[in-house]
Structure formats: C-alpha cells, structure tokens
Amino acid sequence: MADDLARPGNGAAEALLRIEGLEAGYGKVQILHGVSLDVRAGEIVSIIGPNGAGKSTVLKSILGMIKPAAGDVTFAGETITGLRTDLVVRRGIGYVPQGRIVFRDMTVVENLEMGAYTVREKAAVQEAMDQVFAIFPRLAERRRQAAGTMSGGEQQMLAMGRALMASPRVVLMDEPSLGLAPLFVELVFEKLEALKAAGMTLLLVEQNAVRSLAISDRGYVLELGRNRFEGPGADLLADDRVRKLYLGG
C-alpha cells in the first residue's frame, strides 16, 4: 500500500477528536442533549442508534454546519466548537456527507481535484490522486467519466476519495452504505477497512449497525440525542440490549 494518506497522528491514548456535552439542534428543535465521545488516531469509531438519535447531527456539529448551543469539540488539542465549516476542513477533518453528493457534471478527476481545493502544491494534489486511485481502482478506470452517470456504489467511492484528497487526519462519514445495493454495501465496508489499514482515522455514522460494528474498534450507541452505550465494536455487536434498542425495548 502506498504512503499514509494521513499525516502522523499523536500517541494512541490521546484523543484526536473529542466531543463533550454537545447540545445542538435545528431552530426550535433540540436534537442533542449532551453527547460525548472521542476518537483516537488510527481508529474506526462508529456512531449507531435508531433514527432520531441525532447521529448525523453530531457530525454536522463537529463540522460547524450547526452551531452547538453547548458543549465542546476539540481536535488535535485545539477547540473548534462552532468554527466555520471550511476552516474545520482546512484543519484536517474530512467529510463524506450523506447521500453521495458528487458534482454530477464533473468527471471523476475533476471531482477529486475539487476535494483538493485547499491544497496549494500541484505535486501534492497529484500524489493524493494517485493514492486515491490505488485504494479505489474502479475510480481510476472511470477517471474521465461524468460522476452523474456512475452507479450509486461508484459515486460513494468517489465521495470518499474526494474527502481524502486534502490528506485529512480524520474523516467523518455520514451513512456511507445508505441506499446502496447489498453488493456495494460489501464494497464500501471493504474500502473502509482498507482505509484504516492505510492509517486513516474514521468516525462513521451508520444505520447498518452489524456491518459497521464489525469493522469498528469502538462504537457509541445514541438514543434520542444522548449517549446510551459505548464500548469495543465486537462487544456492542454481541450485546442484546443494543439490538433491542432498534425495535423498541
């Protein structure tokens, strides 16, 4: 595998990304009532939970798309609570939004170049693109294809690749397997494991709890905007209480 796409992280014990007591919502509706979690370098951490738990809201709050009403977000030791989104991204947090949002009229290469918008040196952009193509050979095959004409799974690859272009230290992903055919769901999770093997740190929000816990080092289960359970991925997967949460006690 090529060089790390991630820059060297801190010591394993120190949290790369930390949220404490996060309270946030949309207008009149409060979604998060004090959520805490942390992500250490090199980990895959999953946030799972039934709908309405506020999983996507957590990611959006980290990215500054929603200004938290209370709580702190710390990244690499610095507070970034409520920081503007583009500044958050420039600090090294990548984002793959829900719904495979790619620039439909642009080619794969152009989409990836957009991902490297904040990168100055052309050489670095080329290098990043080569690494993305190494992880996602399917994208390399279709480099001149318009993103809008690709299948759902390929678009998800592209969205993920694009997030990697600016060499982030951690990537936040919002429901990467949502709405994908089972074959592509397989592929997505394979690629997530490949990213981890390449040294990337991932914070994953997923509906497919089974799959995501299976590849996660640790997981957090949210319910109605609060922490409910947490622990190693395998443990949560085996815990009956977690399953029960989904279909109502």
Binding site: G52, G179, N208
Partner: protein, 251 residues
Amino acid sequence: MSATNRPTFAPAVDTANAPPLLSVRGVSKQFGGVKALAGVDLAVQAGRVTGVIGPNGSGKSTLFNVITGLTRADSGSIEFDGTAITRFAPDRINRLGMARTFQLTRLFGGLTAAENMVVVARGDRASAWQRADAELEFLSLTPVRDEYGDNLSYGQQKLVEFARLTMNDPKLLMLDEPFAGVNPVLEQKLLERMAAWVDEGKTILLTDHEMAIMMEICHDIFVLDYGEVIAHGTPAEVRADERVMEAYFGR
C-alpha cells in the same frame, strides 16, 4: 417516566373483513437512478391504526407523498374510499376526506393558531371558528389562540397541526412522523388526541421511527425496506420477524 394512564387504541368497530378504506397496489417511483418505491402493496382498514415503518431511505416519505398526491407515482394505483385517486392533485385528495400532517410542521407562520385552522375549513365560517376554538380547548392551546404561527414553540406547532387536521372531518388521517423531536409530555397529548380519534371511528395511517409507540398503538404494521414491503402483520408478528431486525440493524 412515561405516564401511567396511556390511552388505549382498540378500534371502535371491527372492520377486518370490509374492503379497505385505502388500498395501494404496485406503486413504484424512481428519482433519477434511485428506486424509492418498488411495487408497494398496502391496505388500510377503516377504523384502525395502520403503521408504516422502515429504516432511513426505505421509501416511507415517498410513499406518503405519493398517496397524498404531492408526488406522482410512476406506476401502480391508489384507491381511497372507492375512488381511484392515483393522479389526483393534493387538494382534490384532501377534499375527498384524506388529511395529512408533515414531518416538519408546516403551519402558516403569518396566521394565528386559530386562523390556521379556520383558513382550511370548508363550509360555514361561523361554525368553523367555533370548532377551531373547541379543538384548541381540547389541546389546552386556548392561551395561544391569537399567537402567530411562527411564534409558537415546536410543541405548540405540532399540536396546532394536529388540531387543524380534523377541521373538515376527514375519514383518513395520515400522520408523517408525528413523534419526531417530541418529549414525553407532548407525546402523551398527541396520543390522547389520536386515541380520541380512534374512538370516534376515524382511520389513521402513520409512519414514525419511535418503535415503542408504533408497536403499542398500531393494529397493523407494514415494514418497508429499499422501497418494498418486506413484512406485514400485527406488531408482535413484525417484531419477531428476522427480516425486520435485519433491515434495521443490518446484516
């Protein structure tokens, strides 16, 4: 802790053998390359509470929008109270006796709570004001009767939307995620209102993610996943169904 006197939802009349009030047959809808609905069959019996559940992206919202006329299906048919409503405009469907709420409340912000209700009322205006006041009273909203919609709190908006729903005495009430973002106190109020409707013999079709409530109040549940109905039955049957667990929790 939840209230001790939860309302009961026994249907007023057992209509299990009558033709369904609403029947959806083979409805499909595609948005671009995504199949939101792939041949959905669904039937709602009069006087009962029918639920539609399913994970994110399963097509619940699209199904609601197709039934209520906000979105046009690519294929399939929908019949309501003996009339084929497949291509009807939303206002026409409403006038036939189907009323709906929205996931994110859609009140008329520049109108007061009472005006929100009266503006949609058909028929005699004077009685409309009376009914509006009576309904607001039932929901303890009389103090905010003259407050503008966009000044109401989220909970109050939800209640007013509920109140507005019955101004024209609809036969079928379609509730789109009524419990979204709702806490126990408001939940109790909404449930009370719904129970009263069921007592009056009204029919309810609702969708929500609050599993516990859905299991508690629905007589019939349809489970959607990837735009298809993967399970159908009583709450107990659905809960025990492996496929449903897989749809939600993953496989």
